[in-house]
């Protein structure tokens, strides 16, 4: 069994001018299992950032000495590592709101918090921002410096397009996963279109015009929703500002839990199909702020993008394709400490232990490709290719390559930054104020939603889905009872009671439905049933 490296704690760089706050943050970070790196000023922080390569940066915007928090963020973001890790800005209060909006606009801060910052709250935000990213990838790998992927990992981009022959599906998935961003991937081949929506790097919804892949067709063909019920729901959906899924649930055509599970199954199927595509046009729209992005259906919390990349490559990539991907590596290859975390998702001890053990003997990509079992075993080759794409296998690139990439990404980022700054300087003050107000409102919504999300985990979501379904079923059962459709009422109420067996009152209603189902019976019973 591969053991996680002892140094696999996530490193968090905490920058604050107040000694007492640094102590509080340090203590809280240790309690949360993070490795705290603290700095009092921008210069200290910059030195630590370069030496330690943290997974997250948290900085006060108002720092003592030379250099502000915004300056630090700008320097960090200009690096290839800093472009992809989460950065949280801490505001000294409302007076600094202008500085905060500047930081958000110009430097793509992932979040900001008002002072005083509660340690637990800060750590929750950190955990949320790094969730789904394998430990070690961001702090150790050469992925951020990978020549082929540097463009897709550049956080300053918001749109990318091209052909799958140039940048394959796995790499496009990786660009969401590694940056934890939201957005949409659209791929077209002939008349067929597949679209996948991502939320914080996780695929949450997929749709396609391929026959049977559309979620509504999927539900009907799978027997989860009656065809007539779907048609009625579609008619209602045209007139309301809700998703078709929500309409189906509110009409009692499907339970919320089943909808959640079927959406997940549909996402799996559509993405599995997508990975079989090798030609076609694609475009990617990245959203800089996940909270402004609304997934069209229920949010998935079940499978990480890593799962899809690893499964997609193992299922669909040929030997030639895998070899081609690995051949982009030019330096020495190493297995990152993220590999066990990535492969843990696959219930397959062979790939989990044996392949990585083989990797340990490797050197460069050409040597690796000649090694047993890679020269014979296509599955093993696919597993390694998947690890390469998602960062379980990393390349140590030369200093010259690194300089070249940094020049390339830094100049690109500078160009975009200059364009934004130039546009901002020409902006009318009223327009800028309105834009800042929109950003503040968006950030407020983001904070509000984040607070709501904190309360829930997968189990509580599933329970909530059952509760919603139960209430819908109960209400529908009562309506059916009033309409004297007793058989349907009894079945619907049975479903309500099954989903919420603790609702004592509902049993009485169910009893009324049972009693009403019988046409004949003692006069007293019938009389009792006449009561309002």
């Amino acid at each position: 069994m591969i053991e996680a490296a002892a140094t696999n704690l996530r490193k968090v760089l905490l920058v604050d001018g107040e000694a007492i706050l640094r102590e509080v943050y340090t203590e809280e970070a240790r309690r949360a299992g993070l490795e705290p790196l603290v700095a009092a000023g921008a210069e200290d922080a910059w030195r630590i950032f370069r030496d330690e390569q943290p997974d997250v940066v948290v900085t006060d915007l108002d720092l003592p000495g030379e250099g502000s928090g915004a300056d630090l963020i700008q320097r960090v973001r200009a690096t290839s590592l800093g472009a992809i890790i989460p950065v949280i800005a801490v505001s000294p209060g409302k007076r600094a709101i202008r500085g905060v909006t500047d930081a958000v606009i110009l430097h793509d801060v992932d979040d900001f918090l008002d002072k005083p910052v509660h340690g637990e709250r800060l750590l929750w935000r950190i955990t949320e921002l790094v969730e789904g990213r394998p430990i070690g990838v961001l702090s150790q790998s050469g992925n951020a410096n990978d020549l082929d992927r540097a463009v897709s990992l550049d956080r300053t981009l918001d749109f990318l397009q091209g052909r799958l022959e140039e940048r394959d599906v796995a790499t496009l998935f990786f660009s969401f996963f590694a940056t934890g961003r939201s957005g949409k991937l659209c791929v077209m081949e002939g008349k067929e279109v597949i679209q996948v929506w991502f939320h914080r790097g996780w695929p949450v919804f997929a749709e396609s015009n391929i026959d049977g892949m559309d979620l509504s067709q999927w539900l009907v063909r799978g027997g989860k929703v009656d065809g007539d019920a779907m048609a009625e729901a579609r008619t209602e959906w045209m007139d309301v500002d809700r998703s078709l899924g929500v309409v189906l649930i509110s009409r009692g055509a499907i339970s919320a839990r089943t909808m959640f599970e079927e959406n997940q199954a549909n996402v799996d199927a559509v993405i599995a199909t997508l990975f079989s595509w090798t030609v076609g046009n694609y475009y990617v729209e990245y959203s800089q702020s996940p909270m402004t992005y609304e997934p069209p259906e229920t949010v998935s919390l079940q499978r990480s993008p890593t799962h899809y990349v690893v499964e997609g490559i193992r299922g669909h990539y040929s030997r030639e394709r895998c070899t081609e991907i690995l051949s982009t590596a030019q330096g020495r290859l190493e297995v990152s400490d993220a590999a066990p975390f990535i492969l843990r998702e696959l219930v397959d001890p062979y790939y989990y232990e044996n392949v990585i053990a083989q990797m340990g003997q490797g050197g460069t990509a050409p040597k690796l490709l000649q090694m047993h079992p890679f020269d014979k075993d296509d599955d093993a080759l696919r597993a390694v290719c998947a690890l390469w794409v998602v960062g379980g296998v990393v390349e140590k690139i030369s200093a010259e390559q690194l300089r070249r990439v940094r020049r390339s990404t830094a100049s690109q980022a500078d160009r975009i930054r200059e364009a934004v700054a130039s546009a901002a300087s020409r902006e009318h003050p009223d327009v800028r104020a309105a834009r800042e107000a929109r950003i503040r409102a968006r950030l407020d919504r983001r904070k509000k939603r984040a607070a709501e999300r904190r309360k829930s985990d997968v189990a509580s979501i599933m329970n909530a889905l059952d509760k919603v379904s139960a209430e819908v079923a109960y209400e529908n059962g009562v309506k059916l009872l009033a309409r004297r459709r007793y058989d349907e009422a009894a079945r619907t109420l049975e479903e309500a009671v099954r989903l919420a067996p603790h609702m004592a009152k509902w049993y009485s209603t169910l009893a009324q439905a049972y009693l009403a189902m019988e046409d004949a019976g003692p006069e007293e019973l019938d009389k009792a049933l006449q009561r309002p």
Partner: protein, 57 residues
Amino acid sequence: MKRGAALDPRNGEPYHWLGMVLMRMGHPDEARITLRRSIELGSPHAEQSRSLLASLG
């Protein structure tokens, strides 16, 4: 139905409906006990429970 009554053992209403279902299912003895329980607990349908008990003899 029995679970429903057990969930709220001080509420007479579930016993009333359970008694009616038992009666319909042809279990007069159990129905009698359940309807009596409903009356003891002060069900809002106590009057109907009494009528049903009377009809059971």
